[in-house]
């Protein structure tokens, strides 16, 4: 059974070549490839043998898994459960405890050097990694062991890709991204809080289809989905070009669907596929529902100034210093601590509170 190709599996389940053609058309669309590539996709998916996938969840909220399991295009069941062999995912698998960890170790041994490793969540380095462990093994140790035998790593979600919320100031657990630890394996970053389900499936489909990593940008993100900014693909973009901006969330401009730039939209600096792929099966996306983009697929989005401050507003200078300090490594944690203590003291002294006026700035 392990040697069955995807086409054989589908055929055994009574799915015709037409159904397979449809599956490939949907996959091609998902990968943002030209429709003429469908034949190539069909050819390579048809011959595909199920690769083993190990999914590790570290400091995360399970939002990424929630998002992925609601992907509908192509149906996640057919892709995940037929096209790959998901050997370990502690939220989705039936086994638990020792049996689960055994499954992981068995899969790692059986497919050493060949399996695809998916990670969601950041990895805490402070205090010997004591802040997050699985079966008594620190996240750091589990990642290093699993990464050693992986063909490639997919860092799912902003936490795994860039440190995410756990990494936000003052970063009490010393959280870092996968790429801060693993330096000798190809890593695909699929950020977003959570990532668009179709994008996660798309990255897996690309790997399955071509057996190689997709074309990546300077932050390790697949260009097919993160190549353009939200702003570039936003349906409200024409209003930006005409200088038509909503000034508050309930003014006439907001009702007429004008650009949300002045209300803090981070679309111009955010690279993601929300504007075209949308959410919940293409129903809507944040900007369509009247709220600016918060930039969740970019590094340090949580510390990048207020969500409701226009991009042209200067960002707090401490953010830059802290981000640089983290990049230097765990030893710099002290420096961040000092910087943040100073900031806290300053905040107390100035008694900063957020008012309605702040939100409307």
């Amino acid at each position: 059974m392990a040697d069955e190709t995807l086409l054989e599996i589908l055929k055994r389940r009574g799915i015709s070549r037409r159904g397979f053609l449809k599956f490939c058309a949907a996959t091609t669309s998902l990968l943002a490839l030209p429709p003429s590539m469908a034949v190539a996709v069909a050819d390579s998916l048809g011959r595909l043998k199920r690769p083993a996938v190990i999914w590790l969840s570290f400091q995360e909220c399970t939002g990424c898994t929630e998002s992925l399991t609601r992907a509908h295009s192509p149906s996640i069941e057919s892709l995940i459960f037929d096209a790959i062999s998901l050997d370990y995912h502690h939220t989705l698998q039936a086994a638990s405890g020792h049996a689960a960890e055994e499954a992981r170790e068995h899969s790692m041994k059986a497919d050493w050097g060949k399996y695809l490793l998916i990670v969601d969540g950041s990895i805490p380095l402070k205090d010997g990694g004591a802040y997050s462990t699985i079966a008594g093994i620190s996240n750091l140790q589990m990642l290093q062991e699993a990464a050693a035998g992986a063909a490639a790593i997919v860092a799912i979600g902003t936490c795994a890709a860039f440190g995410g919320l756990p990494h936000a100031q003052p970063n009490p657990t010393g959280a870092v991204a996968v790429s801060d630890i693993i330096k000798d394996k190809p890593i695909i970053n699929v950020p977003g809080c959570p990532p668009v389900p179709a994008v996660m499936v798309g990255v897996l489909a690309h790997y399955l289809t071509f057996g190689s990593l997709p074309d990546l940008d300077d932050l390790g993100r697949p260009r097919a989905f993160y190549g353009e900014s939200i702003h570039d693909r936003c349906y409200r973009r024409p209003f930006y070009d005409q200088g038509k901006f909503a000034k508050t969330f309930d003014d006439a401009g907001a009702r007429d669907g004008w650009c949300l730039f002045e209300l803090g939209c981070k679309g111009p600096t955010t690279h993601n596929a929300c504007a075209t792929t949308k959410w919940n099966g293409g129903t809507s996306w944040p900007v369509q529902s009247g709220h600016g983009c918060i930039g969740c697929s970019e590094p340090d989005f949580w510390d990048a100034g207020g969500f409701y401050k226009a991009l042209s507003t200067p960002v707090d200078s401490v953010t830059g210093a802290a981000a640089a300090a983290v990049a230097v490594g765990a030893a710099a944690g002290v420096a961040i601590g000092i910087a943040n203590r100073q900031r806290k003291a300053q905040a107390r002294a100035e008694h900063q509170t957020v008012t309605i006026e702040d939100l409307e700035k």
Partner: protein
């Protein structure tokens, strides 16, 4: 207030963003290719941000043609020829009737409607097996 529909919502139509016209021009180009070189091609509608108004403009301009077809495999796929012969609107749905992918195909016939060669061969074998069974049955009868 008895239902959600009774809540007064003021719907404002802000007009399309112009992308429907771009798609229509592309259709024109592809159709010319089909006529001159016999080359078939398609446009993935999920690649461009189309507002509801753009969508309407696209549908209205292309119109409805003579052929409507439905394929049942991995959920329904609904196909209709637009008012412009050779331009087909192909929508793939999953079993929950959610749209998986949507294309405008410019072709003599959309590929998914053609019987795939492998399936035809399997079908021929299945028919011969059935005929053989029928023959056995009539011999015994």
């Amino acid at each position: 207030m008895s239902s959600l529909k009774d809540i007064g919502v003021h719907v404002v139509h802000v007009g399309g963003n112009g992308n429907a016209r771009a798609v229509l021009r592309e259709v024109e180009n592809l159709l010319q290719k089909l006529v001159e070189k016999g080359e078939e091609s398609s446009i993935d509608l999920s690649g461009l941000p189309l507002s509801a108004e753009d969508y309407d403009l696209l549908e209205e301009t292309l119109g409805e043609g003579e052929v409507v077809a439905e394929v049942h495999s991995l959920g329904p796929t609904r196909i209709h020829e637009t008012g412009v012969p050779g331009v087909w609107w192909v929508t793939h749905y999953n079993d929950e009737d959610e749209v998986l992918a949507e294309f405008i195909e410019v072709a003599w016939c959309p590929e998914i409607l053609l019987a795939p060669e492998d399936d035809v061969k399997d079908g021929l074998e299945a028919l011969r097996a059935r005929l053989f069974e029928l023959k056995q049955e009539s011999n015994h009868g």
